[in-house]
C-alpha cells in the first residue's frame, strides 16, 4: 500500500487556508509527498467559493456583528461555515495520477472517505455528485477541489456537531437555490453526525474514523507526520492574501 503523510493540526481560518494552498503548490513542485490533513478552524470562520460574490453567499451583517473571520477559498463551490468545535475540515493534497485523472471520479473517491468514516458510527451515507455527502438527503459534508498541472487539492467539511443555527445565520443561498430544493431554509438541508446518532461524538473518535475512512477510500497507509519548514514558511507568506479585502471581495 502506498504511504501518505497524515497531519492533524488546528489554527485560524487564514492560516488554515494558506496552509492548504502552500501544500498544493509544494506538491505541484514535487517537494512534499501526498498528504491527508485533518484540521480544526479556531475560532470558527466562513469561507466562500472562488467564484462566489460575497453578498450573494453570506450574511455579511451577521458575520461582521459577530466578528466571524471570512475569506475566499482557491477552490470553487459554495459558502461554508467552519465550526471549530463541531466540525473537522479535511484536505487531500496529492498527485492527480494518484487519485484520479477524471475530475468527478476523484471527487467520488475522496468523498467516499467521508462515507466510510460515517459507517464507523453506524450511519449510512451516500456521495451525492458533484461534491456532497448526504444522509437521508441532508448534507453532512461538502467538498471542493482545485487542480494544477500535476497536483490536486480537495478540502471539505465533516460536520459532527456543527452549530446548524449559527451556520444558517452565516450563510446565504440564492432564492432560486432554495426553491428548487423545495425547502425554505438552509437549516433544513443540513445535518450533523450528532443529530443523527443522538449523542455528541468526541473529537478523537471523529479523527480516528476519518483516518480509517480515507485510508480505505484512497487505498493508502497513513503515517502521522508534521508540516515541513518550507510548508510553514510558504503558508506564512500566503496568510496576508487571505486577509486582504481585495482577495475576499474580488467578486
Amino acid at each position: 500500500m502506498p504511504e501518505w503523510r497524515l497531519i492533524v493540526d488546528e489554527g485560524d481560518l487564514y492560516w488554515c487556508m494558506a496552509l492548504d494552498e502552500a501544500m498544493l503548490q509544494l506538491r505541484e513542485q514535487g517537494r512534499i509527498p501526498n498528504t491527508l490533513r485533518l484540521y480544526r478552524i479556531l475560532p470558527d470562520g466562513v469561507t466562500i467559493g472562488y467564484f462566489q460574490r460575497v453578498e450573494d453567499s453570506v450574511n455579511l451583517n451577521y458575520i461582521r456583528e459577530h466578528g466571524i473571520p471570512l475569506t475566499r477559498r482557491i477552490t470553487g463551490g459554495g459558502s461554508v461555515y467552519h465550526d471549530g468545535s463541531g466540525e473537522v475540515t479535511y484536505s487531500v493534497v496529492a498527485g492527480i495520477s494518484d487519485v484520479g485523472v477524471d475530475i468527478l471520479e476523484s471527487y467520488r473517491r475522496i468523498c467516499r472517505g467521508i462515507v466510510y468514516a460515517l459507517r464507523f458510527f453506524g450511519v449510512r451515507a451516500e456521495f451525492k455528485p458533484i461534491n456532497d455527502v448526504v444522509v437521508d438527503g441532508k448534507k453532512i459534508s461538502g467538498s471542493a477541489q482545485t487542480r494544477r498541472k500535476k497536483a490536486l487539492l480537495q478540502h471539505g467539511t465533516f460536520m459532527y456537531a456543527t452549530d446548524l443555527d449559527k451556520l444558517s445565520q452565516c450563510l446565504r443561498a440564492p432564492k432560486e437555490k432554495l426553491e428548487s430544493h423545495g425547502i425554505s431554509s438552509i437549516r433544513d438541508r443540513v445535518t450533523t453526525l450528532s443529530e443523527i446518532i443522538g449523542r455528541r461524538p468526541g473529537l478523537s473518535e471523529v479523527l480516528e474514523a476519518l483516518k480509517k475512512g480515507f485510508s480505505r477510500s484512497l487505498g493508502v497507509e497513513l503515517k502521522p507526520s508534521r508540516h515541513t519548514k518550507e510548508e510553514l514558511l510558504l503558508a506564512e507568506n500566503l496568510i496576508a492574501k487571505y486577509k486582504e479585502g481585495e482577495w475576499v471581495f474580488r467578486k
Binding site: F51, Q52, D56, G77, I103, L104, I130, N131, R147, S180
Partner: protein, 104 residues
Amino acid sequence: MRWGRSIIRSRAGKTLVIDLLVDTQGIIRKCFISGDFFAYPETLINDIEKKLPGCRLGEALIMARKLVKDSTLLGITLEDLLMGLRQAYNDAVGQKTLDTIIRY
C-alpha cells in the same frame, strides 16, 4: 448603458449568476460571472469576463463557447452559461423574449 442580470439554477443544483453591462449600441461593456460551480482551470471564468467586453451577443456566445472548449465546467454546463449570457443580455437591453439566432 444598462445592467442586465440572469440567475441560472443548473440541473446539478448549482447557481450561475451573470451580470452584463450593455451600451446603447448593443455592445457588452462589462461582464461578471459568479456562483457556486466549479471550473477547471479556474482561469476560464476570468478569461470569459475579460474577452466578452467589446462583443455583441452573437459574438459573445461564440467566444464563450470557444473558451469553454478546452476547459471543464462542473456543476453547470456550457448550455447553462450560454443561456445565462442570453438572458442577462436581454435583461440589459429590455427584450425579455428575444431569441437570437446564431450560427456556430
